[in-house]
Structures are given as structure tokens and as C-alpha cells.
Amino acid sequence: MNVATHRAVLLRHASALRETATELMDRDDFATSTPVALARLLGAAASAIEALLRSGAIRETLFPHAQEVLEHIGDHMRYVERSRIEHTPWSMIQALERFVHESAGPDVDFVIRPRWSYMYGVEGDFVRYYRDRLFAGWASEPAVLEAFAESERRLFVLSFPRSERTNALLHANFAHEMGHSVADQWRSAHFQEFWVPVEKALRVKLADQYKPQENQGQLFAKEQWLAERTREAQRIADRALVELIADQVGYQLLGPASLFAAAEFASRESLDSPPGDAGHYPPWRYRLRMLHERLVADLESLNVDNDYGCSRLIKDWAASLHSTVREAHDARILRSRTVYQSVYEAIAASWEEIRSRALSLVIRPPYSFSVRAGVIGELVERLRGGLIPNETGVFPNTSPAGFDDILNAGWLRVLELRAELGVEAHHREEHVRRLTLMGIETAEIHRRFIELQQ
């Protein structure tokens, strides 16, 4: 393909993406304006590529990179399209946005979109990704400066399993995903400081274990062997710390609801997969154990007389989780290879410091079940009576309930039904989830109404 044709093809692609972004920005079927903000960013990025192609700032040698940027824009445009009301748990999104702003700051926004695979995830921040990575080579071009002029906003995309769209309770996992942005901040600032001594000690241990294969006794082969294992160890350490920090942030934001959701998710998977076989993720049992410790510490100060039986419920559940996490299968797995053992021993040795540094980055004070038990109990009692868990108090002196309290109440009611009915609880659970969803929305509207009146 000659240069002129190639440039024309790229121009047409950029122009089509810009137009698609404009169409998306005109739509009014998003739960909030955040998807439109992402569409605007993507449209501006497409427009900047168009301008750079026309001005010649993108030379022939950079066509492949321009092509890559356009492919990213197309991929990300899909997220905007999929975040329309009909695809999302729209009735909880306004409340979630308020919660995000209170937790991470007013400049942070999340677009919610479904995915077909059964997993939660987070991507972003998109502004920095486009401005500082994809457009880094053209940073001083006027078209690029204009495209990212309003770039202080931090935009992320949270994804959830499509089949769980209306399962507000499982969406407590969003708190863990929000924790990834905190984990990333911790990683940028502190990971190297953690990793350097671990790597040094690991190389010494591994070097002792190295057994040259026949005909492979050269120094080069040993170095390669060591490099492969230390690279693997670094990936395992990085993934473990990111997930463990995100778990802790999730608990900090939503308390036991985040643990209930994590345990529900974990119940579908093996609890003791070795990191090497599980995308470097830490074993679920290990993660649940750390969250269980947090719950136990929280429940130590529990002293509520009138919490409608919630203390008993959560203590029973904590005891049943304890029987799972006290098993040490995961510990045996983590001792089975030097790479795992070195990483996880180092994490254990520094964990308190890592955790407290990471949690100091969270604006919102820690959620405490012990403090909120009375309110949660009141909301659970409403669910028992077939009511939405949207407010506390007695008419006319009622107050809208918080997003975090509602999720905890919904979960406790579900756990209560499971304890009473076993697998037969399924249909009743669905009812609780619907009531919870409506409770979240009406409480948010109620709160906004009060704010506007004041």
C-alpha cells in the first residue's frame, strides 16, 4: 500500500471513530454522564489523530502506532456503548458514583459495563493512558494539547459478569476493583523498595538449588534459569500485592459486604490454586483468611443490644468461614516451590506496613460493622418484612440509608435465608436482591432530595 493510500485509510478510520463518539455523546440512555465523558475523550483522541495525519505530524514510520491508537479507541468505544442503561445495574449507578467520589475523590469516575466472562475487572485511568502513553510522542502538538485540555479527571471502567447484572449484592466486588487504583498508587511508590531485597535473597537461594543439566553446564544457562525464575517471582509478588491490597481497600470501603461477595465469588473456584497455574493470583483461601482476620478484628468491638439478631448472624458466618480458612492447604502449596515461598514469606514479613501505607491512600474512613450494626439490623428487619432497605427511623423521622449499610444488610438477609433454608433459599434470595437494588436507588434519590431542599 502506498503512503497516500495508507494515510487515507487511517484518516477514514479516525473520522469514523470520531463520528461514532459523537453519536454516543448524543445518547440519553446512560445512567449518568460518565460514559459520555469517556466518549468525549475517545472522540477527542480520534480527532487528534485525524489532525495529526492531516498536518503530517504522523509520518509514514508512525502509521503502525497510529493504527494501534485507533484500535484502542475502537475497543474502548465498545465500553461506552455497553454502559447503556439496558446493559447495566442502572438503578445503583448514581449511588455508586457518590460512593466513589466520597471514597476516591471528586475527580475519579467509573464507567460500568458488562462482560461475558464471569469476572470483575477494572481498566484505566483512560486519560493518562491516552495522554501519557499512546500520545506521548506527540505531546507538544496543538491537536493533542487541545484533546486532553480537560485532563484532570481520572476515568476508569469497571466491568462485571453480564449474567449478574441485577445482582447488587455481588457488585460489592466493585469495592475491590476500586481498590486496584489504590494498589497501583502503592505499586508505583513502593514496589521496587519491597522487591529489591526479595530478589537478592531469592537469587542466592535459587543459585544453591541449581542443578546443571547434562550438556548445559555453562554459566549462561544458569543465568537464564535464574532470570526466568526471578521474573516469575516478580510477577507473582506484584499480582499478590495488588490483589491483597485491593481486597483490603474493598473491606475498608464496604466492610463485611466485600468479604461476603469475595467469598461468594471464590466458592466457584478452587481455593488453593498455585499462583503459577492461576495467572499469578494468590490462592483464594489465603485472600479469604486475610479478610477473615479483618472481620474478626472488627467484630471484637461488637456490642449492640438491639441489632435484630445481626450480631449472631455475622458471628455464625464468621465461624463457618473460619473452618475454611484455618485449613492450611494453601500454605502447603505456597511452600512447595522456592519462588512461592520466598515471595509469600516476604509479604508476610512486611504486610502490616504495606497494608497501612496503602490504606492511608483511601479518603473514606474504614467501614465498621461493629459501629453500624444497629442501622444494619434495622435494614435487615425491613427486608424480613418484605420492605426495601432504603431508610431507617420511624415516620416522619426517617433518614435515607447509606449505600454501604444497604449492601451489608442485603447480604446478611441472604446469609440468614441460606442458614434457614439451605439451597431452597434461592428464590427468596432473588427477592432480597431486587429489594436491595430498589433500596439503593430510592435512598439515593431521597438523599439528593434532602440536599436540594437545604
Binding site: L387, P396, L435, M438, T442, F449
Partner: protein
Amino acid sequence: MTTLTREALNKELAADGGLRVTPLLDSGQVGPSSIDVRLGNQFIVFRRHLLGSFDPNNPLHSANRIQQRRVVRWGQSLTLHPGMLVLGSTFEFVRMPGHLEAQVEGRSSWARVGLMVATATHVEPRFGGAVTLELTNMGTTPLQLQPGVRIAQLIVRTAQPVYSSDPDAKKYGGAIGPMFSRLSKDKELALLRELGTHVRGAQTLESP
């Protein structure tokens, strides 16, 4: 049956196991003998281009095929054109205790501009959910319906004897938004179909 007035309504709304209409954004929604309810933001609209007519006897004519759910963002409006019917629901979640029932009535302010609210107006004892509202524009001017607006009123009456069946068993119970019609689930429809077969059979026998 006695209609509850403001004092009795306030008492019921505060009583354990009593009437719940939640959330009441403004305690002034409780009037002299009724409770104003607000419009929610979910609607079911008709897809008129898909079917010529609706036949509850035809299993292919499920309500899902002729209607679809639409959500209007808070602060925006749904336009109801003259002659148009949509299903909306109350913003409030209503739970009737066993000793009360309610009637949904439109507000005169809306009736004066052509809006008819709720033709199936009875809320039974032990109902729990958002109440579906049938909204029709009987006037000549399109109407902008904004979620949150006071759209109707509940007239609450005593029911005797106290009704005590399981609220979950109700046909439309537990709704958190407007519900699609379940006309095709009416048990009588099968019987009516059979009745038609017998009549046709009889005619066949008598014909020469």
C-alpha cells in the same frame, strides 16, 4: 370499610407492622384522607410496530413482545402523546398490612390536563411492591411526565376480616417497577378456549 384520615394514616405509617409507603420524601404527602405518591422512573411502553393486535390466547403474543421497558433518568421526562398508554409505577414501595387495602386515584391537577392514572386501581391487603400505574393521555396535548412528580394518591381503607395469606404469592407482588401484563397467565383463558371448541363441535354436529 372506613377511609383513613390524616391522623390514622400517620399512626399507621409509624406503627410496627403497619402501612408503609417508602420513602415519603415530604411528610406533606400525607393529606386529609389520602397519601400522594410519586412517579418512578421506569416505564413500559408499547412496541406498536411489531404486532397488529394483542391476543392473550396466543402464546406467541407475550406481553414482552409488544411492550418494552424504558428508564428515564432523574431530571428528564417521558413524553406521553395524546391517546398513548404507558405503564409506570410509584416511586414509593408500598406495603399493605392485612387489615388495610387501598385505591389508587389520579390527582385532579393531572386529570385537568388530560392524564388518566390507573384504571385497575385496587391495592390488596398484604401487597408489597411498587404499584404499577396505567397512564393514558386523554387530552389533545402531549404531556411531559417527570419522574418524582406527585402523580396519584392512595386512598386507604380498612379491610375486614384481616387478610393473612403469603404476600409473595400475589400475582404482581414484590415489584420494584412497573410489571408487564400477565393476562395470558389467567387460568380462565384455557377454559374459555375449550368452551369455544365445544361450541364449534356442536355446530358441526348440527350442520347438514
